[in-house]
Point group: C2
Chain length 310, copies 2
């Protein structure tokens, strides 16, 4: 068999990539993990994680990633700071070209590049990210017990998560740029019936402001141009997410939102290419689901490699 | 809507049950977790866990469970020491009868009762469990670097895991009671080609012995009755596992080995009954996969309950 540079290349260094690296390194594969900047992924922007089992008091995103990184280093996982520019999956040996022009080859790949929430693109949004601006109700909702928050969006996630927020928040302003939701009718009915939710139709956020944390969201009615400030402790933004798959091209089957389709074994449509975490068409995007995916993806990659080397 | 005692009853208190409890308690469901003895499940018998992400030096099974238990208590999860005797799933409100005769009702259930490895049933097996006797190569293989170990079984798991062990062990005695394996041919070919594996056909283990840790495995040839002692540091037992589903009856669809069949959303064949962890027909049985399943199962249960209360 012609040999590639690596048995396995893992693209992405969030919880899914790090866990794939942990399992692959322990399985003594010839493996490298590529991470664009620094290991971590989206949890680096999550101030405090209370729902990753094993940390009774919670743990900061930064510390959890540091611990996962220390762990893979114990098993000598090779990690390289490199951004993938394009994949060539046309041959059994896959070619990974990096943005610096270098290229690697591998028999198997695990794509674990995650997803990014679509930003609103308004002043204050980046500044208060993790300090009141959030993209995850499950993660951050409980921090707003008894507080007033804003939520932005009109799809299933925005409406369902706004309802979820009312378990904690005293009031949720749900801000939507149109005069009707795209969300399922049943979710809409529930939101309408929820006394803690005040819906602001035809409205867009123009600015998020505060001192050290979010204190105010400025909105504008797109029909009347009327402006208004809302005193809130948080602003949840649910205007869609996008998978980080720019480098993939058309080679791998994706769902209607661009997320990579995987079976229960984390196999994609391309033999030898596996996927883990938020970048796949998963029913839930959490640290726990990402790490579970990753272990399965490595087991599948191992099985694939064993059949190759037969 | 007629109300049950609980929105959700979680059966089982291993990593899957505890994680389901964590997510359900944080979602403010009316939930209780039932655990037969004490929270933990199979990881309590795992001396040291190196592949659960977030613990760079590894963590003992006991400590990890203690931390997960402390974590759910922070969110006021109700936990009861109770063994389920039988489920009645014939009505939308499910009835859970306990072995002490009491009964609970719930709108939704998560079954997270795990699986148990089949024991050999020979002297020394229980005594050295966690001290050389192991049921998990992925978990414990790396502890036997450069050592001689025994492995018992002839199915896919026994043969594949014996090959995995040769990454660490200097030699693996693979002990099988028949004169051929049930495992896939390709796995057999690989085992036959592996110089570190010595296969002992027609042989059964009669005793596992040692001082504080495994030092010796005694075997007997079932055809010749010849007896032999093998000096080994470990004994891996892979003679099948069985799902802990005694209380389920025929109400839920299971696969050919009795594991509960779930879709990607952890839904079983019975509406309102979800499953997580080793008890389901999962491609991999690890702590990371169990916790991932559990988070998805709670999200699905939440969705189910929302539709009920419409």
């Amino acid at each position: 068999m012609k040999k590639a540079d690596y048995d396995l290349v893992i693209i992405g260094g969030g919880p899914a990539g790090l866990t794939a690296g942990l399992y692959a390194a322990r399985a003594r594969m010839k493996v490298i993990m590529l991470e664009k900047v620094t290991p971590g992924g989206q949890i680096l922007v999550t101030d405090w994680i209370e729902n990753y089992p094993g940390f009774p008091e919670g743990i900061s995103g930064i510390e959890l990633v540091q611990r996962m990184t220390d762990q893979v280093k114990r098993f000598d996982l090779a990690i390289e700071s490199a951004e993938v520019s394009v994949l060539d999956l046309s041959q059994p040996i896959k070619k990974i070209t990096l943005t610096d022009g270098k290229a690697l080859t591998a028999h198997a790949l695990i794509i674990a590049t995650g997803a990014s929430p679509n930003p609103l693109g308004v002043p204050g949004e980046s500044k208060f990210s993790g300090r009141g601006v959030s993209f995850c109700g499950t993660c951050d909702g409980p921090f707003f017990r008894g507080k007033v928050v804003a939520a932005v969006g009109g799809g299933d996630t925005a409406v369902q998560e706004s309802i979820f927020l009312t378990k904690f928040a005293s009031k949720v302003y749900l801000i939507h740029r149109r005069n009707e939701f795209r969300a399922e009718k049943i979710l809409q009915e529930r939101a309408f019936a929820n006394e803690k939710i005040e819906i602001l139709w035809d409205s867009v956020v123009t600015e998020i402001s505060g001192l050290t944390n979010v204190e105010k969201v400025s909105i504008k009615n797109v029909k009347t141009n009327e402006k208004k400030d809302l005193a809130v402790a948080g602003c949840f933004i649910w205007v869609g997410t996008r998978p980080n798959t720019q480098f993939v091209g058309d080679a791998i089957k994706v769902d209607e939102n661009g997320f990579i389709i995987a079976d229960v074994n984390m196999k994609t449509s391309v033999p030898g290419v596996f996927v883990a975490g938020d970048v796949r068409n998963t029913p839930l995007r959490q640290v726990v689901t990402a790490v579970g995916d990753a272990a399965i993806a490595v087991a599948s990659a191992e099985h694939y490699l064993e059949n190759l080397s037969r």
